[in-house]
Symmetry: C2
Subunit: 363 residues, 2 copies
Amino acid sequence: MEANRVYNFNPGPATLPLDVLKEAQAEFLNFANSGMSILEISHRAPEYDAVHQKAKADVKALMGLGDDYEVLFTQGGASQQFAMIPMNYATKEKPGAYVLSGSFAEKAYKEAEHLGVGTIAASSKEEDYKHVPTQSELKIPDYASYLHVCYNNTIYGTEYHYVPETKGVPLFADMSSDMLSRPIDFSKFDFIYAGVQKNLGPAGVVLVVAKKSLLEKSPEELPTMLKYSTFYKKDSLYNTPPAFCIYMVGKTAAWIRAQGGLEEMAKRNKKKADLLYGVIDASEGFYRGHAEKDSRSFMNVTFRLPSEELEKKFVAEAKEKGLSGVKGHRSVGGMRASIYNAMPYEGVVALTDFMEAFRKANK
Amino acid sequence: MEANRVYNFNPGPATLPLDVLKEAQAEFLNFANSGMSILEISHRAPEYDAVHQKAKADVKALMGLGDDYEVLFTQGGASQQFAMIPMNYATKEKPGAYVLSGSFAEKAYKEAEHLGVGTIAASSKEEDYKHVPTQSELKIPDYASYLHVCYNNTIYGTEYHYVPETKGVPLFADMSSDMLSRPIDFSKFDFIYAGVQKNLGPAGVVLVVAKKSLLEKSPEELPTMLKYSTFYKKDSLYNTPPAFCIYMVGKTAAWIRAQGGLEEMAKRNKKKADLLYGVIDASEGFYRGHAEKDSRSFMNVTFRLPSEELEKKFVAEAKEKGLSGVKGHRSVGGMRASIYNAMPYEGVVALTDFMEAFRKANK
């Protein structure tokens, strides 16, 4: 661990690659020899445009997507997309179909329902969201405008390990918490979006990667800033974009490419997750994972301890050891270790070493 | 001028106080001794909450507003507020009344009109937006939900020098380009908003300062993220806020307070504007201001040269001298020097020295 830095297991905003932070820090007062900070430069300046275009290109290259897809930068977090998606794509006759696999999946559905254009295709809510609904559980109406899934469920620590087969219904995915963490056949998706503050950058921008055919036209009655077509037609520059956030996403995407791309991220993320789940599974019931094994997330590892008292003690002692942000979400309780792309293997070693010692001291 | 830095006259994103940038740079890897960057820390962490609350308190203190007002941080730029305001506050029976004083005022009106809930209270469009409509020109229907003004018109270089009297109709103002630049009786306004990327921080957050009575309740049918009440009830933390941008706004507000508050900003801004307009007025017609004298902006100084050829030459030679971003908006042409709070007097001296030399060489 770098001096003064902790291992940051927060679910988002989350740890970022230290090299990326150092690079941004070094050029903070004079970006690209412009004599200005990236915070101060015009979004119409060629120096900024180079950042904007390279970020888009690197994201598309990492995802292996072609000319039929476009990358947009929008705002308002995934939460605003929860409303914009049904506003742009669903109608009463052709509702959006939603798979409920956790809190954010539910929130997305509720926005569509509120507009009267949502329907449920599957839900694991009754099972406390311990698993992601399987292909055979999905009931997708053939008249649906889209099937919406939340690909990784940050709070419950579950993740899809298959790409849903939709029989022609466009596939939409919220990938806020596992975007660019592993290779997926992204071409099977029609519309992907991600609040970037977990795997890709600071809070303040949403990455949208979607088929151009979906972005070209939005319902005329919508306000300008709620039409995806506005972002598409103006290259996300209709108004001033959150330039610094986009710049950081660009730097992170370039870092991922330099490290070896999504294959390398997947390898590292699996190694970290295997270590952590291994310690949980070998703990003789001291640590109990929330997610069912076949739905376990590579990004957010959720587990309980024998008592809430021990859980409090765990959080406090972990913090003293420079292991920050391990407290779980109140709706699940217990612990959650978020081990995104930027979490080094050494961080998970430090956490698991602590877990073993804590178990021995408290069993 | 600091080594490697230019004088940045861009209209937004724009120059920020160098001290603020240096402070952010110094703590970029380890914010508030948390062992994390401000980009990485949870928006639920106490260290972040302190930033959030102090930014709000400093903004309110600078504006001299009391407990009946609340500060919100929203997203999507002023452009998204152009739609959210009529969605939240206007109806067909009680439309929003708009004063057209420039491009952004027009855009705000168009969003209301698009929703069928906008009406025009006054316009100076026919006069090429060379002045801000005066009090006597305002025709405010007594059934209007609000009167909307754009307090400083970045593109045309005009600014209100009076607070409109509305006879009880709530007063709404887009202050994106002159927010916190001078003392105004803000208590006469009911709803003020500003994209912060001109006077207050990096692009990516909108500062809303409004009467609590307006924020408590939003129309039920609106999506969660388009209701101002969501931001109000959750202290702008319903979802992850654009934390870094808020942090920078907080630092800038603290800097303004440390410099002496809005009185001091006004003194400095007037001194800069007087110098610049003085050189224009004394140029024997070589430099021609766009704005009429009684509507001149303290923030954006717009002027033409005798020919477009000379204008191109001016931009190029200015840039060589480290005077960046002086090209005007295409809809007005010519030059625009934006001299926000963070532009030092020395920057305007350098610009006017250059203007005098350029005039002598090219008249």
